[in-house]
């Protein structure tokens, strides 16, 4: 009994809602056959007829699943960066262990080929750093890393493919990319400093002397450190300050090393 009353209440509430929404609406016409709702299921069921599937749906033409291959015109045969290009573009679409491993390996191989060309070597080293960083961090890599990877590669391609590019121009391109790399590294460091509260970072990480220490190596070192057990609460201000100081030191040393390398390059030319 209570149920029926409840249902009636529900029905009337729905009706009221709908009347509010649709106002007078349309009154039932004279031809109406309102067989009042009997929502009880039929006991008798018609066995469903089986028909072969007619899978002839018209295909809706959506905005297109387009690939964005940056195909260059006039690429010479035996293009030395072909495989590297392939890998960089693949990473844009899908990041897998295989692709990353191949990237790192291809860069190593190209480094040997171009060992006598300083600027190209530095470009390759940038790519190596970025590649290694992505490989180590994958989904935790800074989102801008991929754009910079593409950018460094594009500039490298320009340097290699443009005939008669002056050393000065090449250096400018390199500098611009290094600047972006530095900015990215700073962002990563800031991010790390911000999350340093969650982990206690040990003091005194060594700073590498070469200009091209991969930032991921630093990240790896930090990640390998285990926080002291049972220390789930907020770390002390002292340990946080220590971590920030350590990061600052690292950034300084990296910058200095970069400056040294650039000076060397300038002397050579």
């Amino acid at each position: 009994m209570a149920d029926k009353t409840k249902n009636n209440n529900l029905d009337s509430e729905i009706a009221k809602r709908l009347d509010d929404l649709f106002g007078e609406g349309d009154s039932a016409s004279d031809d109406d056959l309102p067989i009042e709702a009997d929502d009880n299921a039929f006991a008798e069921k018609e066995p469903p007829k089986k028909q072969p599937a007619v899978a002839e749906a018209d295909i809706l033409d959506l905005k297109g699943v387009a690939t964005d291959t940056a195909e260059r015109e006039n690429v010479p045969d035996d293009y030395p960066l072909a495989e590297l290009k392939n890998l960089v573009l693949s990473i844009d679409w899908e990041i897998t262990d295989e692709t990353l491993a191949s990237l790192v390996s291809e860069i190593d191989s190209l480094k040997k080929t171009y060992r006598k060309e300083k600027i190209v070597s530095m470009f390759l080293q940038l790519l190596a750093s970025l590649g290694q960083y992505i490989k180590t961090n994958r989904g935790n890599a800074h989102p801008k890393t991929f754009k910079i990877l593409n950018s460094v590669f594009s500039r490298l391609e320009e340097v290699i493919l443009t005939e008669n590019m002056t050393e000065a121009d090449k250096k400018n391109l390199l500098r611009a990319e290094m600047q972006k790399y530095k900015q990215l590294r700073n962002k990563v460091s800031q991010k790390k400093a911000a999350t340093a509260g969650r982990k206690v970072v040990p003091a005194a990480a060594r700073a590498d002397q070469t200009a091209t220490v991969a930032m991921d190596q630093k990240v790896e070192r930090q990640d390998n450190v285990k926080a002291p057990s049972g220390d789930a609460g907020a770390p002390s201000a002292a340990s946080l300050a220590e971590a920030v100081k350590e990061l600052k030191q690292f950034i300084h040393s990296e910058l200095n090393a970069l400056k040294q390398e650039l000076k060397k390059l300038q002397k050579v030319n």
Binding site: A57, I59, G64, D68, D92, E94, R138, G139, F146
Partner: protein
């Protein structure tokens, strides 16, 4: 058959989507079922889309593409992604009943997005799978 999601579950879903996607630069993300119902919807505050229409079309789109896959002998496609000049849209299935749709600009690479989406999906599965046994 109907299904219900409680406050805690929905909060958890929103947290996952926020942390993994919105905070990584995704413009808009919505979780829907294959009927086109919106379960959760988050954006970065920049632009408001007509998400109800998007949800209906997305479900229809995904359904259509899945049917196409079967016709050509594929169980399913591993990537459904539409690239625009400024905005792109990516679809990911979660179990047989749900879809995660992300709208993102060109500042995020598809590869990176797919990694983040894969992470989100793993977490969302734990919340959504129990619903399917109801």
């Amino acid at each position: 058959m109907s299904y219900t999601l409680g406050q805690k579950q929905l909060d958890r879903i929103e947290d996952i989507l926020n942390q993994d996607l919105i905070e990584n630069g995704v413009r808009c993300v919505f979780l829907i079922d294959m009927a086109g119902n919106i379960i959760a919807n988050l954006d970065n505050g920049e632009k408001q889309h007509d998400i109800y229409s998007l949800a209906a079309l997305a479900a229809g789109n995904f359904g259509a593409v899945s049917a196409m896959a079967k016709i050509i002998g594929e169980n399913e496609f591993s990537l459904l992604f539409h690239k625009g000049k400024k905005e792109n849209i990516h679809f990911n299935k979660i179990t047989t009943e749900f879809l995660l749709i992300t709208i993102f600009g060109n500042d995020i690479s598809l590869g990176f997005l797919r990694l983040k989406v894969a992470d989100s999906v793993e977490q969302l599965k734990t919340i959504l799978e129990p619903l399917l046994s109801l």
